[in-house]
Amino acid sequence: MKIKKGISLIDQHDKNFLYGGKFGGNFIPETLKKPIDDLTKLFAKLRKDKKFLKERDYYFKNYVGAPTPFIKLENLTRHLGGAQIYAKVVSEANGGAHKIYNATVHCLIAKKAGKKYIVGDTGAGYAGKMLSMAAKKFGLKCKIFMGAKDIKRQRPNVEAMRKNGATIVPVTSGSQTLVDAVSECMRYWVSNCEHVHNCIGSTVGPNIFIKICAWSTAQISRELILQIKEEFGRIPKKMKLLNCVGGGSSAMGFWNEFMDTDAELVGIEAGGPKNSKLHAAPLTNGSKIGILHGAAQYVVQDKEGQIGSTESISAGLDYPGISPLHCFLKDAKRARYTSASDEEALKAYRLVSKLENISPSLEPSHAFSEAIRLAPKLKSSDVIIVNSCGDSLKDKDIIKKRLGSYVR
């Protein structure tokens, strides 16, 4: 399996929309064939449309707030004594996370498609919060599907969604987390696809959703590559880009422009509680390929193909599957994947929040944990950049409960 140079990763699929001949595709009910086909054609047109691109760039700059800061974590670097550690502070984007890029683009597309309603799924609540924000801005009625367990553990984001006027539909089936929210949102779309636009919150689902999402978050690396060149004069020889992966949208966006460079790409999955058998790390733990939410991917499942339970302290990473794009990157050996446990993520959150002016949420704390592990073994000529794609504020309750106190 090989990645082609000079071609956008999202376009490296075959006629069945499979990456590397086996990941992705459109395993969908007949009813969704047409809406997905329509959306595929519309997006193909829009991404070549100069006016649309201008519009996107306008909103990324003036609404999302591009570029987000790129900073050196001086104290953390000194504390660990090894590689130089940097952060791309994507949590400074409007709303506080990378989910704003996908949400904004989907709302723009929904408008072009003449839709008045938009629905979406959410785990950590960021995808839902951003969609509700963007929907409000663009005058769309918004409905968000969220697992009942996540509604409880991600209260600040739930409150934000309500304030933005979105209807929140609690999902009580299955594990009551992201996987069930995505399923329920898809069902809603199956029943209402004629009038409703669907925004899947990560680089998962039928192919077109993977494409739109990765195309949107790519803004992160378009900014970063310029910021790196400004900081170092060129792309450093030994540079690692560390990103947490749940569905994989943040990492795809962080890595996209670096595909054809020597940058080392490391994805960090949710390893779950230290002594638990449950995890949300299908790539790290060698899960088999299966079909989930319309796409073939490595997915936590049992022998017969029932989707497996997952567990993670981080609602945003608590998902049994992973983007087909990351499966492709793994098998092509362009990226490598590892995991961090709940405890390691908490520890990383605390250290970074104590030493630096940023305070990553539990999702990017998984990536920081890997940075903390790697940095002391490396030289000062090595550069580690972590995508700090969410703010700890949303995890205040969980952190207080687990660590006794919350610092930011």
Binding site: L32, K33, I291, Q301, K303, G305
Partner: protein, 266 residues
């Protein structure tokens, strides 16, 4: 040789009525009862569908999801599902049995191995909810080679061109989804409109059997009775749920319900 599915439709045509097709989930509410239910309702049904429980069923509404989760909680497996099929077919060899499910379970077992199991347990046909045309062409061909019917789905969103292609490739039966919905939704389209769409597809090839499903209950079934066949699923699943809640015998209850459905179209 004509398939059992074809023979079932021929018999119904002689009797000038649509085929009654029932859907329940294998193992609902447990392995033993589900076989008993299947045996009982097959006396009134012309074709039986048996759902393969899946815990991530993206095209199923509340009632069928409920049945799937209940069956899985009570220990149903794919292996046990084939067992139910086998025992049923031993009892009623001429009653067509169709397995309906999601592709991941087939994918994990392997297509060939799955079809072998279908063959040895006497399964007559397959509906794979999330393997649409044309992605299903290869698998459908494999099915045909094993004389297993691969049943194509069509929906109100299916374009005319697609309809043509799908019907051309179809085997002995195709399935028209009555409305834009998951299973078990309320019938939100008028029977007249449904039959108009049905006629559009039939016109492409009158000889191909076309059944209608989704949203059909004993309240709506008679209004659609000029179709080749009608599928009732969610109402049966709901009846199992109700019988458990009211501590009634699900076998008796389902038997009565399917009998009454048959009376409405016979």
């Amino acid at each position: 040789m004509k398939s059992k599915i074809t023979l079932a439709f021929e018999k119904c045509k002689e009797e000038k009525r649509p085929a009654l097709i029932t859907y329940i989930v294998a193992g609902d509410n447990n392995e033993k009862n589900s076989l008993k239910i299947l045996n009982a309702i097959s006396k009134h049904a012309d074709i039986c569908e048996l759902g393969i429980g899946h815990n991530c069923p993206v095209a199923d509404g509340y009632q069928i999801q409920n049945s799937s989760y209940r069956a899985l909680r009570n220990g149903i497996t794919l292996k046990a599902t084939f067992n139910i099929a086998k025992k049923f077919k031993k009892n009623s060899p001429n009653k067509p049995l169709i397995l309906m499910g999601y592709y991941n379970l087939i994918y994990q077992m392997g297509e060939d191995s799955f079809l072998k199991n279908c063959k040895t347990s006497g399964v007559d046909g397959l509906i794979v909810v999330d393997l649409p045309f044309p992605e299903n062409k290869k698998f459908a061909k494999k099915c045909k080679r094993k004389s297993i019917n691969f049943i194509q789905l069509l929906s109100p969103t299916t374009s005319k061109l697609r309809m043509k292609k799908i019907i051309t490739q179809s085997h002995d039966m195709s399935y028209y989804i009555s409305m834009v919905s998951t299973t078990g939704g309320k019938l939100k389209v008028s029977p007249k409109k449904i039959l108009q769409n049905y006629d559009k597809i039939k016109k492409l090839n009158r000889k191909k059997n076309l059944v209608i499903g989704f949203g059909i209950t004993n309240k709506t079934i008679s209004s659609l009775k000029r179709a080749d066949g009608l599928v009732v699923g969610s109402q049966l699943c709901k009846a199992i749920t109700d019988s458990i809640r009211k501590k009634q015998n699900p076998v008796k209850k389902l038997n009565k319900l399917v009998y009454s459905l048959k009376r409405k179209i016979a």
